[in-house]
């Protein structure tokens, strides 16, 4: 075949496009120390300190179990917000996203890559926390509980991916870092992912109920037996937040395109 001839009947492989985008997204995140180190190590380091080293010996296993769930929620939210929010804002600013948009790549493949990055890094955090909890914290869960915890946390990060996507459609890369940092830590603390919310004043406790991170924490705490949450309500709140942020992102993107 002529090296420049074009076969108009050839059909692109959607599966190959998705697989390639997922591979590139994971390679990109893994090789970006500014992303990989904080998202993987910070939750583990905080858990080691507050969940394993500092608690009194008599409360050790209980605290380790509680914080396994709450730092698990904290740990999966990070890759979701930073991977989508900061990652995509940077790629838009670089022109890399524009290059994808003018290629025949299905944009779903691009988002699948971003999603895979957030979910895989989130899962890695959960696995790391689980190993620390089981190895050093005396946390004992049934195999089904471990799997359910991982599933709840990883799938529960989806609304935060949507939140990151919305941030990425609103601001440039530098502002995205600031905005995500302004959201991530305060939302995590106010949602009781660092300390149970009953330590907070009543007004702050009421505020926590409105935050998606609180509901993800509640679901995870329910899996490890530290709470008896209203599962349906928390799932509905998370789903509603996810849909809301997707709608806001779509609207912002439509405004940008025109």
């Amino acid at each position: 075949m002529n090296p420049l001839s074009f076969d108009a009947s050839a059909v692109p492989s959607v599966r190959r496009a998705y697989a390639s985008e997922i591979r590139l997204a994971l390679l990109q995140l893994w090789r970006t120390p500014a992303f990989a180190i904080p998202t993987l190590l910070f939750p583990l380091a905080f858990y080691g300190l507050f969940g394993l080293l500092l608690p009194a010996p008599e409360a050790g296993a209980e605290v380790a179990r509680y914080l396994l769930a709450s730092y698990g929620a904290f740990g999966v939210i990070g890759p979701a917000l930073f991977g989508f929010g900061v990652g995509m804002a940077m790629e838009r600013q670089m022109g890399w996203l524009a290059l994808k948009q003018v290629s025949p790549l299905p944009m779903g493949a691009y988002f699948a890559g971003k999603l895979a990055g957030a979910l895989v890094f989130g899962l890695a955090v959960v696995v790391g926390l689980g190993l620390m909890a089981a190895g050093f914290g005396g946390v004992v869960l049934a195999p089904g509980q471990w799997l359910l915890l991982a599933g709840v946390l990883v799938l529960g990060s989806l609304p935060f991916c949507a939140m990151g996507l919305w941030v990425a459609t609103l601001v440039d890369a530098r502002a995205a870092v600031a905005v995500v940092n302004l959201i991530y830590l305060p939302m995590s603390v106010l949602s009781g992912l660092w300390f149970p919310i009953h330590f907070f004043p009543e007004a702050m406790q009421a505020l926590a109920l409105l935050l998606p991170a609180y509901h993800l924490g509640e679901l995870a705490l329910g899996v490890v037996g530290a709470r008896q949450p209203d599962v349906a309500s928390s799932v509905v709140v998370l789903a509603a937040y996810g849909l809301l942020f997707l709608a806001l992102a779509a609207r912002a993107n439509a405004g940008r395109a025109d």
């Binding site: 420049l4 074009f6 670089m94 025949p104 790549l105 299905p106 493949a109």
Partner: protein, 249 residues
């Protein structure tokens, strides 16, 4: 209806704008612009900043939706991915993820196309064979531009948009780049070239379109445009284009 840009001798049109208007708030970026590009043709798009070149390319590669008029790419709507199967684009302002290797970037781009070139073949075409394993961020500015050019070619396009392709290249690299573009044209690949190096347009283009304030100010072969200038004596394309713009201002 026969469009003013139709050429009966070359019925196949790869890209077409038909009476397109596009506006940003109070600024008319393109005003009643029509043009067509045929296989194997190199069209240079010239004009000062703000003339409408980026808007025109944005419409043709599907990033913008025409507000008035019709835009076609390979017989379809450029906003549809399948129309872009025949298109390769080298943007003026794009940088790629620094930590990905050159070969990985090409493989990723190739995955979007139905019948892409091989990575090795594309690397060789762009003079990058030695750099396949190098992270993009470790390359010089000129090498990075060549990688961006390779990304535009890896899908085996019939039509390539190159936006300021040789900015940042030294003279030797620019000549080598021109050689690759001429080779592509000889194979039947059509190109739209925007450049501030007017000698580049003179050297490569079959047809030059001069845009000014969103309108086509002049269109023709480089020879035809040079002949239009009112100056006496032999003139270069740059003089001719500058005269046209000055007269229109």
């Amino acid at each position: 209806m026969s469009l003013p840009t139709d050429d009966p001798a070359r019925p196949e049109v790869l890209a077409r704008l038909d009476r397109v208007r596009h506006r940003y708030a109070d600024t008319l970026a393109l005003d009643d612009v029509s043009l067509a590009l045929h296989p194997g043709e190199v069209l240079a798009l010239l004009g000062p900043n703000g003339a409408g070149k980026s808007t025109l390319l944005g419409l043709l590669c599907g990033r913008l939706r025409p507000q008035e008029g019709r835009v076609e790419l390979c017989g379809g709507d450029p906003r549809e991915a399948r129309s872009r199967q025949s298109l390769g684009v080298m943007l003026q302002q794009a940088s790629l993820p620094e930590m990905l290797r050159v070969g990985e970037l090409l493989e990723g781009q190739a995955a979007a196309y139905a019948s892409p070139r091989s990575t090795a073949g594309t690397l060789a075409l762009a003079g990058l064979s030695e750099l396949a394993a190098r992270p993009y961020g470790s390359l010089s500015g000129g090498q990075q531009r060549r990688v961006q050019f390779a990304l535009a070619l890896v899908g085996r396009p019939r039509l390539v948009f190159v936006d300021e392709p040789t900015t940042g290249l030294d003279a030797d690299a620019r000549r080598a780049f021109w050689g690759v573009l001429r080779g592509l044209r000889a194979e039947g690949v059509a190109m739209i070239l925007t450049t501030h190096y007017i000698e580049e347009a003179d050297a490569l283009a079959d047809r030059v379109v001069v845009l000014h304030r969103g309108r086509i100010l002049a269109e023709g072969t480089p020879m035809e445009l040079k002949a239009r200038t009112s100056r006496s004596g032999p003139q270069g394309l740059e003089d001719a284009v500058l005269d046209l713009i000055r007269e229109a201002a």
